[in-house]
Amino acid sequence: MAARHIGLRTAPRTGDEDVALIAFDTVSVTAGDRTVLADICLTLRERRIAVIGANGSGKSTFARLINGLRRPSIGAVTVDGLDTVKAAKEIRRHVGFLFQDPDNQIVMPLVEEDLRFSVKALKLGPAAENARIERILDTYRLTHLRHQPSHSLSGGEKQLLALANAMLREPRYLVLDEPTTLLDLKNRKRVMNAIDGLEQTVICVTHDLEIAATAERVLVLADGRVAYDGTATDAIAAYREMAA
Amino acid sequence: MTTRDLVLIALFAAITAVLGLFPALTLPVTGVPVTAQTLGVMLAGSVLGARRGGLALVVFLVLVALGLPLLAGGRGGAAVFAGVTAGFLFSWPVAAFVIGWLTERLWSRYALLHAVAINVFGGILVVYAGGIAWMVAVAGIPLDKALYGSLPFIPGDALKVIAAATVAVALKRYQQHPLGQTV
């Protein structure tokens, strides 16, 4: 068997579902007198998108705009036509989010409790909630850890739990904000393999060029603007040139 | 209460617990053990303000009462609220609230001197008033004995006042203080 690469491999499409679409309509974000993002106009329909750029280039804010955690100061972001600010509640259901530090995304003392906390918000009723928790524990191979304290998990297991939490709500999109930065190589591979297999549209903000290299489309952010937008090979080359 | 308020309350309750993990520092001359835990009381009030600071300590004490060994020395459970010194514990949320209330009132002028004064009042006077009142009223200890028994702890508390005040003022200076962020 050929060695598997780590990355944002595109899973096969399952059917003729509606075309997924994230749109930035002249979006600017300012914090105080500082401009974080300026004039972003984009339509994203690819299934695997990577966003790269230096620290402070606005990557994290870009990611948070997609699920309404940050509001645009000017302009609007829509996901499948839904405004991320006005329809925040629905957006959260359709857009899963994985943060950099798994410790900050797990809020319950035990693994299963943490999943239950998320699934309760869906108000599915006890039977359906349990079924969904069982399934997600199985999918991410966390079943043997279900009664363990969250704190006792390894970094990779914590990040898988955080991913399981995001996938529990069966979102159509998954936004990742540097999901592997704090992980060692082995755990990074484990997490990326799990993400590889997803049918969802994945937008990954990353410093990891190896991951970016496998995306269908790569955006390079610099000083709050899209400095390059294209295929992985071209975008990474452009990014390397900028950094040189 | 926003989600952020709830998280802040939980994290400062947790900080108070973490401060209890440190081995007690024994004061040189008096030989009295001083734990860092009341520093959590002063920090919660000085950083979170009255409502959130007071609630952080309520949360902490409820968890102790439920049996979690979060007090310095791994103590916990209902017994600690029946002891001779329980008044000190009960005064913690009040002290954090008072410190927070005064901090909010003096916020526009808040500087090291104010911070120290506020923490002396809330972190020492309020706590000792509660603790000593309990010793006298509940445990039947004469007032003078209760006072003398408490004195050796004052130097340690004074150090904690300076620490908490410095942290709060530093946060304000770096614009990281939650009370300065009116979101």
Binding site: M108, A162 | L11
Partner: protein, 199 residues
């Protein structure tokens, strides 16, 4: 660092509802204040201790964990024996020992979520006063969840300052620790909101 909580076992003590155990503990807390008889209190302690083997808990491990508590009790007893009387020391020490054993047993055999549920039920009459039981139990759970995380942060900060020779200055630890905790609070609230949890 381990915040020792629940140890999973199949036992009658584990099976007892959390509310029941909590009530028993509170009742014990009141009962022990009603008697000065060392024999009665001794009997109480034996009863409480009997709960440990009944709960099929790993006794040596628990003994190891409880050692600091036992040392404190021993000091407490010695102080009373020296300065008041052995009788008073015995009674007070037994009372504390009973409550410590009971509290430990409750903590080891009861899931935090179950205790939280009891608390939630206990708090629900207060809902009209603006106290939201769900929010309250979330705060309790988060506190437990983040104690080990913050202890680790503290260790990291200490190691970093030690490398710069600044670990003897408490402020060099406290200020970064507080700043990091406040930053963590932002990220945690973002993560909760991203989960679509309505609070």
């Amino acid at each position: 660092m381990k915040l020792t909580l629940y140890i999973r076992r199949d036992s009658p003590v584990h099976a007892l509802p959390a509310g029941c155990k909590l009530c028993l503990l509170l009742t014990a807390g009141v009962l022990i204040l009603l008697t000065d008889n060392p024999l009665l209190l001794g009997g109480g302690l034996v009863t409480a201790l009997a709960g440990f083997p009944l709960a099929r808990l790993p006794l040596p491990e628990i003994f190891h964990q409880a050692r600091p508590l036992l040392i404190v009790l021993a000091i407490f007893f010695t102080a009373h024996a020296l300065f008041t009387s052995i009788g008073t020391g015995t009674v007070l020490t037994l009372r504390f020992a009973i409550m410590i054993a009971g509290g430990l047993l409750l903590t080891l055999t009861t899931r935090v979520s179950d205790l939280m549920a009891v608390l939630e039920r206990g708090l629900s009459p207060l809902a009209p006063l603006g106290l939201n039981p769900e929010k309250a139990s979330l705060v309790f759970a988060m506190t437990i969840r983040f104690i080990p995380v913050l202890a680790e942060t503290w260790e990291t900060v200490r190691a970093a300052q030690q490398a710069r020779g600044m670990d003897r200055n408490p402020l060099a630890l406290l200020i970064p620790m507080t700043v990091l905790t406040l930053r963590r609070a932002e990220q945690i609230s973002d993560a909760i909101e991203a989960r679509g949890v309505d609070l």
